[in-house]
């Protein structure tokens, strides 16, 4: 224990610590590099075609002469399909989480949780494939003929004043599905992608609610549903909103499903059975034919940069919420 400086082990420890700490920053560097390269490649299109023309332009004709890079149809495609998916997927995802965390019997839970987890890692290209070969034909052949032909016929035969004409026309106009590859099919398949994401995060949030809350509620004579609805869900609302936000982030970024089943038309959709071309599918479909360094190539990076910014904002929001949420949890323990 004599004093001798620096000790051999101390030098070695310092060396190890420096190496590990520098590797620890790789993720920061990677994120910065992603942002840098995306914006570097995207800059050209915004610079040459004008920022507002690109963002708000309604015509996406990258290969016509002269090419037009109005991204609004792509952005609108992403927003509409995300909205439609969210309407279906959020209730399903949250219900799955509530079922697993609060209601299911122990044995069912042990069986259901791995299944949901497997669904989460299910290759999206297979989901897209399934949508193409099964869902799309069902929609265009079966559902379309049911809702746009049989139903109007039935309604017309009723000879009721309003129903026989207006509603029949409405059904005929709105439910005629010319192609099964459209926003609705994409939303159905995206739902499959989003359910496991939403439910696994939401389930964590629900199980983090202290058992004492539930006991207190039951002790006051509340039933199971009242306890879930009035105690457990409010107590975990920030975690549930993180689940919803990250679920939406997954939907926005999902590529293969929209590439294969959304129809691919770069026009602003008017109805849920319209074909669309959301941002990820535009990148995936067109990058192969865009020559490196062409304006089209830069435009696709521009789409990627917007996509990156949207998911970045969603991550920041959910991180902010979950930090606050964690603070509350620590507060409860003390």
């Amino acid at each position: 224990m004599r004093k001798y400086i620096p000790l051999k082990w101390q030098t070695k420890e310092k060396f190890v610590e420096i190496i590990i700490s520098s590797v620890g920053f790789v993720s920061v560097i990677v994120l910065l590099l992603i942002a840098f390269f995306l914006f570097k490649e995207a800059f050209e299109v915004f610079y040459r075609a004008g920022f507002y023309h690109v963002i708000l332009g309604t015509q996406w004709y990258p290969t016509s002469d002269p090419p037009k890079f109005g991204m609004l149809p792509l952005i609108a495609g992403t927003l509409t399909v995300t909205g439609l998916t969210a309407i279906i997927a959020i209730p399903l995802g949250l219900a799955t989480a509530i079922y697993i965390a609060e209601i299911a019997h122990y044995k069912i839970r042990e069986f259901l949780k791995p299944l949901i987890e497997m669904l989460a890692s299910f290759p999206s290209v297979v989901l897209g494939f399934f949508g193409m070969v099964i869902i799309a034909p069902i929609l265009s052949n079966w559902l379309s003929s049911l809702l746009a032909e049989r139903l109007p016929e039935l309604l017309r035969n009723t000879s009721l004043p309003f129903i026989s004409t207006t509603l029949a026309d409405f059904c005929y106009n709105k439910f005629f599905i010319s192609s099964g590859l459209n926003m609705f099919t994409a939303a159905l398949m995206l739902t499959v992608r989003a359910i496991p994401v939403i439910s696994s995060i939401a389930e964590d949030a629900l199980t983090a609610v202290p058992r004492t809350y539930r006991e207190a509620s039951y002790a006051l004579g509340a039933g199971k549903w009242e306890t879930i609805y009035k105690v457990v869900v409010p107590a975990s609302v920030s975690g549930l909103s993180v689940a919803v936000i990250l679920g939406i982030g997954t939907i926005i970024g999902e590529t293969m499903i929209v590439l294969m089943v959304a129809g691919g038309a770069a026009v602003i959709p008017h109805w849920i059975f319209d074909p669309i071309r959301p941002m990820p599918s535009a990148i995936a479909a067109e990058m192969a034919e865009a020559a490196h360094g062409s304006l089209h190539y830069h435009a696709l990076f521009g789409v990627g940069a917007i996509l990156f910014l949207i998911t970045l904002v969603l991550s920041l929001i959910s991180d902010f919420i979950s930090k606050k949420y964690r603070a509350i949890k620590i507060g409860e323990k003390v």
Partner: protein, 300 residues
């Protein structure tokens, strides 16, 4: 029940007169039904792919290369491509991911730097896979001049899976009891010796489980390799890491959408999808089983 004035309920009413609560019954059964949606969908899709794919699956299918412009023959180079992509990706990323996890769990001090690391891991996890594809194209394919290649694709996948590997490893390292570290340090070992000899061996099963689950994710990804590695067709198994490869997910996509014989190649599409699912879900299952075993085994 309190006995006394104003209490008109006899105790036995508690048992006999429990009213059926309509609202409660409705919502609970609604949630019970909806809660199974995900599982039911999974099973339907699995059955669909399995029933259609099993006809195509044979020994020749997985050991022979495709022939006659991919309308016949097997998918050997496709399988090999996916395996090579995932192996190189994991070999590259596991050391980086685990080291980052060691940094976060053992060396980091609270403050701005730690926050920025955590923040970027969190953000990276939310970046769409197609954006990683763009990044790989711009950096590995063009800037590093790897071209569309096995190497560029593996690196792109590695960047994509980094946050997942970090967080599963960090969890495994943090699950090692504090008392193990104390015991080791009290033996007169340095911090690094403690990490290397005690913490990492104890965390290893957890780290490996995360790596297996991460491999499953990587194997099923299409978008990151579309413009960095995947080829429509290669005559055989790649001879160097600078050659493009075929990959299972991309093969399904190509045959189902861009091929000239979409209907004719349906059996091959189903067979490829089934192979991919067996690979991905098989690894997933192994990971899940390993993890639940570890949970049982943890006696400390």
């Amino acid at each position: 029940m309190i006995q006394g004035e104003g209490n008109k309920h006899a105790p036995f009413e508690l048992v006999h007169k429990r009213k059926f609560n309509l609202k409660e019954g409705f919502f609970l059964s609604l949630i019970r039904t909806l809660g199974f949606t995900g599982a039911v969908i999974l099973i339907i899709i699995l059955l669909f792919v399995a029933l259609n794919g099993v006809k195509a699956l044979s020994w020749d299918f997985i050991t022979k290369p495709p022939i006659e412009s991919m309308t016949k023959g097997g998918i050997l180079p496709v399988i090999v491509g996916t395996i090579l992509l995932t192996i190189i990706c994991m070999v590259v990323i596991i050391p980086i991911g685990v080291t980052t996890a060691i940094f976060l769990a053992e060396y980091s001090k609270p403050g701005f730097l730690l926050n920025s690391v955590n923040m970027s891991i969190y953000t990276l996890a939310g970046v769409p896979s197609v954006v990683f594809g763009l990044f790989g194209l711009s950096v590995f394919v063009i800037t590093f001049n790897f071209g569309m290649s096995l190497l560029a694709g593996s690196f792109t996948l590695a960047v994509m899976i980094l946050p997942y590997i970090i967080s599963t490893s960090e969890e495994a390292i943090k699950a090692v009891p504090y008392s193990f570290r104390e015991a080791s340090l009290a033996c007169g070992t340095t911090k690094w010796q403690t990490i290397w000899k005690v913490v990492l061996p104890t965390a290893l099963p957890g780290i490996l489980t995360g790596a297996i689950l991460g491999t499953a994710k990587v194997a099923g990804e299409t978008a990151p390799i579309m413009f960095t590695a995947a080829a429509f067709f290669t005559p055989g198994i790649p001879k160097s890491v600078f050659e493009p490869v075929m990959a299972l997910p991309y093969h399904i996509y190509v045959l189902a959408t861009a091929g000239t014989h979409i209907e004719q190649t349906r059996p091959i599409q189903y067979g490829t999808a089934l192979t991919l699912i067996i690979l991905v879900l098989g690894m997933n299952l192994i990971g899940i089983i390993l993890r639940s075993k570890q949970r049982v085994k943890k006696a400390w």
